[in-house]
Symmetry: D2
Subunit: 304 residues, 4 copies
């Protein structure tokens, strides 16, 4: 048995030093953070390993956008799966808008009057939709020719301004999957054009071929889940049907296991489904992603 070494804080301590100390303390939340950094380091350093990043939750309104872009620019991941909401918020910022620091204990009717949308304590002005509409009007004919969501998002990334997650993925040849794209602001914009009689023939199931082919042909697979939701499950099910199940896994979530949903399910459960190898190196981090991700990535950045 390895003894717990208590964490010591020294002036000027770096994130990597702290996370290494968390490895020595080794238990509870701190232990999970340290293990996540180790697992992420291993999967990045393993040349045979394809890495799938699933991101749900309000990560762009939560200030995580530049970490994601940094991960993409450094080509640390091979596949990005996210929600339509995060892509919408990303594009909105790309069009020059901001998210704002707000309050959660607030009069939402008052916010509504002022034209402010709230995501916990992150705010967005509803006027952003005008620019979003203009952007899609300008590019609709190009986008409407796309055959599936992956292609749509690749083209959207090409058209998106520098500094967006969308554009970074495009430039770095990282495919974006977003099976529930219709369920987002982008979906609503497209709906606005569909009811005007415009076309959008993007197919719903087509992308499955692409993500599963990537997973099928990888020697090793590593998964990183920020939140659960569709992004997690979509990666999980791809790994279920391929020969090489996940070798590495990190999940950061505040959802609980007991109600039985996929978002809160510990990674271990995936072993029963053949989504993860029984000897895989994996960890569940029960923490707010906006705390855990900067810590873990801050440590790993020093190591690679």
């Amino acid at each position: 048995m390895k003894a717990i070494k208590h964490i010591e804080i020294k002036k000027g301590i770096s994130v990597n030093e702290l996370v290494k100390q968390m490895e020595n303390s080794g238990v509870m939340g701190a232990g999970a953070i340290a293990k996540a950094a180790n697992v992420l380091e291993k999967m990045i350093k393993d040349k045979d390993c394809k890495i799938y990043l699933g991101m749900a939750g309000a990560m762009v309104p939560g200030g995580m956008r530049n970490i994601i872009i940094d991960i993409i620019k450094n080509k640390l991941i091979d596949v990005f799966v996210t929600t339509g909401a995060n892509l919408t918020h990303d594009l909105i910022e790309g069009l020059g808008h901001k998210h704002y620091q707000g309050e959660s204990n607030v009069d939402d009717a008052e916010l509504n009057k002022k034209g402010i949308y709230r995501m916990y304590n992150s705010y967005m002005k509803n006027e952003v939709y005008e620019d979003l509409e203009d952007f899609f009007d300008k590019h609709y004919s190009v986008l409407s020719k796309c055959k599936n969501i992956r292609e749509f998002l690749s083209r959207l990334g090409e058209l998106s301004p520098e500094g967006t997650i969308l554009n970074a993925c495009f430039k770095n040849n990282i495919p974006i999957f977003c099976p529930s794209l219709a369920d987002s602001g982008i979906g609503l914009i497209i709906w606005g054009r569909l009811v005007q009689g415009k076309e959008m023939d993007v197919k719903a199931f087509d992308d499955l071929k692409d993500i599963i082919e990537i997973a099928w042909t990888s020697k090793k697979n590593g998964v990183v889940y920020l939140g659960g939701g569709v992004p997690k499950n979509y990666i999980q099910q791809a790994l279920q049907v391929v020969p090489n199940k996940a070798d590495f896994g990190i999940q950061i979530t505040m959802d609980r296991a007991e109600p039985g949903g996929s978002s809160g399910a510990p990674l271990k459960e995936g072993i029963s489904w053949g989504k993860m190898k029984k000897e895989a190196d994996f960890v569940d981090v029960i923490c707010d992603v906006t705390i855990a991700l900067p810590l873990i990535y801050g440590a790993v950045k020093d190591r690679i």
Copy 2:
């Protein structure tokens, strides 16, 4: 101020009597259950109100299927939005298979060897996929002609055995929306045919027209969310763009608000977005759905 009246348990107490007492105690979880029953009763009794049921999480593996079917057969809802996973589990039971009572503290590698998939402490045999494959092979030509997910699910409901949620919705003309259907066992089955060169041209965005049209033309709207995820958000965003925002709302979830995701966001947040009226009658129930739903529906069933 209304005084709290302590709950009194008498022999033979009915669910409705208990929930009415919870109204008199009126606070914390019990108060929320009671309020949810009242709000559900009101929206059902309001002839002008269209009701949208969003269901995420492992509700079929969790034993909630017959409650949902009863709700549908009694035409208590107008729109059903769910995950592909729940529809897959529903169809699997329709094909004669079962889910089983299991354990959560278990050796998942052992389960995997035995061909058992685990959702917390609910099990399913992996052999179910064979019948699922056969079912889709038999009906693929019909299903592949569908133009969007709603139509696909309506047709699937027609083809599904009696006793399924899918079939009950079909028979009762309740549309099923499932924007992330590709993210499910049904998605995987379709993938298996796509890679064989078969077609499936179901469009990703088309359904938005239908759900938003229903919401647009309703005099009043009531929302019921079992879990969060895409089903909740898809209904929320439909209400965002229509003139009549939600008048009634019930959300049952164990997710937390603080990490900022949609699944844990209290209904109140939707007022800032214009998804819910500021004067709406709504309640957040922080509870496992498998506990709260039978209680709430058990009470309401006595009142309608």
Copy 3:
């Protein structure tokens, strides 16, 4: 493997019928409720079993008082361990005051001005303290002669009005343990007299002899924890040192296991400590106590 039978709601369904159906569904939260009812029924019907009820959290302000009194009057438990806060709230109601149904999203400074104390959405007027002071002034000389907390609470129960938990325990010879009694409104009242130079020589450790002797001499032991905190841990540690560890266990809590505290620790952890038998019949219910307790007790009341 036992197949999951989906819950069916019929008009007029009783709580006991619902909980029995939850046994047939058998998984997730509903399965835990059903198992808790079965375990409670078993421990009550086992003539050799002493039952320890630990209660933390705002249970009196939460409307649970009469359920506890009913349990006590029916002599279903042998030992009651709780927090000073619950006993304070109980006595306050005994002196003729009420708790009130309030709001959680509220201006607390406004409440403070109005003399209202808030516990989530349960309110109490601060004027209650005057009667509490008078009560203790009247009885201080008697109470100050008590040698330990158990004796103090027994005497307090004798002096307390009919209809209180305190009085019900006294009349039914059920000892109340409350190791952190100083940490409560009652503690503050006593402090007010200590600074006036009055005595209160109640000893801090003495009660350990009594609770451990009860546990030592029992043939079987069953534990029921409403919330965690000191009440749970105090019972747990008594069982740790006695020959007969717990045979039955129920824990109802919303706390999580991962941060490592006692309140969220699953009962299973107690097996490593020798607090519970490895073959014990036990269940963790992840639910708000104000929902779970009426359901479980409502079912068990029909069975005994």
Copy 4:
């Protein structure tokens, strides 16, 4: 409105730089961490402010011991309130024993056979109790002369080895309050001597005079709660009765507000009770303490 600035991770980033960036992102968990660091910095730098640290949960088994000792040695706090369990674990380490890195998904009966106690994934050998018994046998006559818990713990600190929290508090004249000391391993050791007929007359209520006097005579008060439980409530109630309510507050917990207990109650609730000023600078951090505390203290250490 202040725009959210996305966090940027650079190689070698220090904890303080990261936490400052979290201030610029400013929302959700990261925003709360940053605010907690700012509030802690302010209360430490305010010469008029007395600081009360309340610590519950398995913090010594969780690797937080040296951070606490560092805080004490730097005289950053004025009052320390904790659970008997943490003091027991602290003394056990002082006597030369260790805690160990373990697993949470484990056979607890197997651990029990091996003489290992489990706190989530932190282990302790049960043989530690022998040395604990010897220590108390050696010092019992001195300890049994103490009149109240504060005095008992001060004397225990004097007798405890260098390197313990207990000893650090003694040397730095920081009083330790622990109203539920009987509810702990130390309590059990004392019980063992009580049943042998030895005395221990420590009074239960006496300490209230001391803690309330400190709070009464402070110009300003700042509270820091690691977990909830008795330590939080004991500090809260002291502030309730004194003229100067808390000016600063930090609470780190994973407990939820909705069930109504004190441990999960947001600090804001204390304003209704007159425990905190309405204009106080305070923040609730929803995070595992073993993650949040090193981050917050790591940042603040650079600033003072």
